[in-house]
């Protein structure tokens, strides 16, 4: 199917700014689903609040646009209720790691089969550019006029520590590998976290003098390297991308089915 068959044209134009990376994430997500051949009616997309979360309206799946930070909690209800459905939760970095941080670590701990996509632009875009838990130390934001003194999370390490069974990082520059990673994340049976660096030229870029959207994409090209690259030894500031974890652990809904079996046998 062409990409346009996966979107709700009625709801366009979208709200994303010119140069925003979120559209690239949406396009890659659609291509990954197309490549996997999953039926549109078997997919539920659950989002929270923020620029990223508006992705829900544009996609022709079952879409649930919820409240700030709680996408994974709603998604857990849908998934446990109908385990045969494919659950994808696209979230912003503030949505997933500030207000929704608790749900992210507990979803990882349970290893419930949901794909969490972090559309990580290091800023709260919808409210106009405040610092998030993914804004770097020293970076500027509308609420960090003298530079940010918060340390930022490392999404990959956090997800690994919480027990996610699939953890990957990619960027909006590396579209081909993003599609492949999303395919693997969606297919993976268990909780998957995909950290996607996505440019916000309007707020993060402007506040930190990073230039145009193209300049920011070039930055992703030059400042990230595949996992295990020797370059990292020379320059520790380089950000690694690729698949960090891909393991099989018992999946929550499958485990619950065993509970049902046990309970129904008991008199």
């Amino acid at each position: 199917m062409p990409v346009k068959d996966y979107i709700r044209e009625r709801f366009f134009p979208h709200i994303w700014c010119p140069g925003c990376g979120h559209g690239t994430v949406m396009g890659s997500m659609i291509r990954a689903i197309e490549n996997l051949g999953i039926k549109k009616s078997d997919i539920v997309v659950v989002s929270g609040i923020g620029c990223s979360s508006r992705i829900c309206g544009y996609l022709d799946f079952h879409t649930l646009h919820t409240i700030h930070g709680r996408a994974l909690a709603f998604a857990t209800g849908v998934k446990l209720s109908r385990p045969e459905l494919t659950l994808i939760a696209p979230m912003g970095d503030g949505d997933a790691f500030a207000i929704g941080g608790n749900h992210l670590i507990h979803s990882a701990r349970r290893n419930i089969d949901i794909t969490a996509i972090i559309m990580n632009n290091s800023i709260y875009g919808m409210t106009g550019g405040q610092y998030s838990p993914l804004t770097g130390y020293g970076d500027f934001a509308t609420t960090a006029p003298f530079g940010n003194i918060d340390r930022s999370f490392d999404v990959v390490k956090l997800a690994m520590g919480a027990g996610a069974s699939f953890v990957a990082r990619t960027t909006t520059y590396h579209v081909r590998s993003m599609i492949k990673i999303l395919e693997k994340a969606i297919t993976h049976k268990g909780f998957s976290v995909v950290d996607i660096l996505s440019q916000c030229p309007t707020y993060f870029g402007r506040k930190n003098k990073l230039g145009s959207a193209v300049d920011m994409l070039k930055y992703y090209k030059t400042h990230t390297i595949p996992i295990g690259s020797k370059e990292k030894e020379k320059n520790p500031d380089l950000i690694e991308r690729g698949i960090f974890v891909q393991e099989e652990y018992p999946e929550y809904c499958t485990e619950y089915d065993k509970i049902i079996e046990k309970a129904s046998k008991e008199r």
Binding site: I67, R70, T76, L80, L85, N102, I260
Partner: protein
């Protein structure tokens, strides 16, 4: 002993009723004094193929049941004051998206951590106005186990009929009192099923386009119709809108679908009302004490009656006004500083004849607490 006769707590009666009404999914978080509901359902639900999950907090429990309800399941969560506060934003989401769900709040002393193991009825207004924004909501109460059963089934029925969250506002005394419960046989109490759309696959389904009778047929998430659900103001497609006409229409719809059916939603019990000169109005466990006083006074020839409200919201103002019209005095009996008192005063023709008999010290309200007020009104004491 009869097979269908049980000796249980109110929390257990609630569980039995939820299963009777077709509960399939429960998400919760441990909190006193509602925890028994979660404990029992963790055992009972998987036995019938249902799902139980203990979430990481109160907020996610509320969110999870909304997600499960959208897939077509009957859902419930249970909590107490602090947890009820935490759930409010997500309850508003259920209001806005018109998702059926049942929320049990076993009231305890508050504010804050308050009195975790003591009784209170301080959450009456929170049930009505806890979530932000203009809206309406259904709230039911019960004073004994048999009624807790009946009202729990009603809660599920009303939530399906009106596509709305329904609050079961129990209290610590009702939840923990052990007494008899006669289990109604299957079919004895009507159970309302989810109203699903008859629109076929391939034809446009409008999730928020009401039928002629005002009801909105649903389509299960994961079914043939793909649509958008959002907490933003939305059009008939479920797509965000800030068009003033659409916002006006949706706000009215959310309020009118409940307030316009107050009579249909009202559940009350009447004791010695016909010739009453003094009328007690009460609800929840307070109504037990009120009934004791009424029976006691009647035995002495005093014309005292009781109106027990089982529906608190939408407030049955018309019913209250009519019942209060011919009595000399009205005494509202509750365990707070007068939350329902104010509603009764608003409803009646003569607010000056409405008085409060209450208890707010964490102890269960006693007959003396009521009699002290009654005697002063009757001119029999000081």
């Amino acid at each position: 002993m009869k097979k269908n006769l049980l000796f249980v707590q109110g929390n257990e009666a609630c569980v039995e009723a939820a299963l009777y009404a077709g509960l399939e999914f429960f998400a919760g978080y441990p909190i006193t004094p509602s925890t028994e509901i979660a404990e029992l359902l963790s055992y009972r639900l998987p036995k019938k193929g249902g799902k139980f999950i203990q979430m990481e907090d109160e907020i996610s429990s509320m969110c999870a049941i909304i997600g499960a309800s959208l897939t077509g399941k009957k859902v419930m969560t249970a909590t107490s004051g602090p947890g009820f506060s935490l759930k409010q934003e997500a309850i508003g989401f259920a209001v806005m998206t018109e998702t059926p769900c049942v929320i049990v709040n076993v009231q305890r002393g508050g504010p804050s951590t308050g009195l975790p193991t003591s009784v209170s009825q301080g959450d009456v207004m929170q049930a009505r106005w806890g979530t932000h924004g203009e809206h309406s909501i259904i709230t039911l109460t019960a004073s004994n186990n048999q009624d807790a059963f009946a009202m729990t089934v009603e809660a599920f029925n009303l939530s399906e009929t009106f596509r709305t969250p329904v609050i079961l506002l129990f209290d610590e005394v009702v939840a923990h009192t052990r007494e008899r419960l006669i289990m109604p046989e299957k079919g004895k109490i009507n159970v309302v099923k989810r109203l699903r759309t008859s629109v076929k696959e391939g034809t446009d389904y409008h999730p928020y386009l009401p039928r002629e009778d005002g009801r909105l047929p649903m389509s299960d998430f994961g079914g043939v119709h793909r649509y958008n659900v959002t907490g933003l103001m939305h059009d008939m497609w479920g797509f965000p809108s800030n068009n003033p006409k659409i916002v006006y229409g949706l706000t009215h719809h959310l309020v009118d679908k409940i307030e316009g059916h107050t009579k249909e939603i009202t559940r009350i019990k009447e004791f010695f009302i016909e010739d009453a000169e003094y009328l007690l109005i009460s609800y929840g466990s307070s109504a037990r004490t009120a009934l004791h006083v009424v029976e006691n006074r009647r035995a002495r020839g005093e014309k005292v009656g009781l109106l027990e409200l089982q529906t608190l919201w939408p407030f049955p103002a018309d019913t209250v006004r009519k019942r209060c019209a011919s009595v000399n005095c009205v005494i509202v009996v509750e365990m707070n500083m007068g939350q329902i008192l104010q509603e009764v005063k608003k409803a009646v023709d003569d607010p000056d004849k409405v008085f409060l008999a209450n208890q707010i010290n964490g102890s269960f309200i006693t007959p003396t607490d009521i009699l002290n007020i009654l005697r002063i009104i009757q001119g029999k004491g000081s």
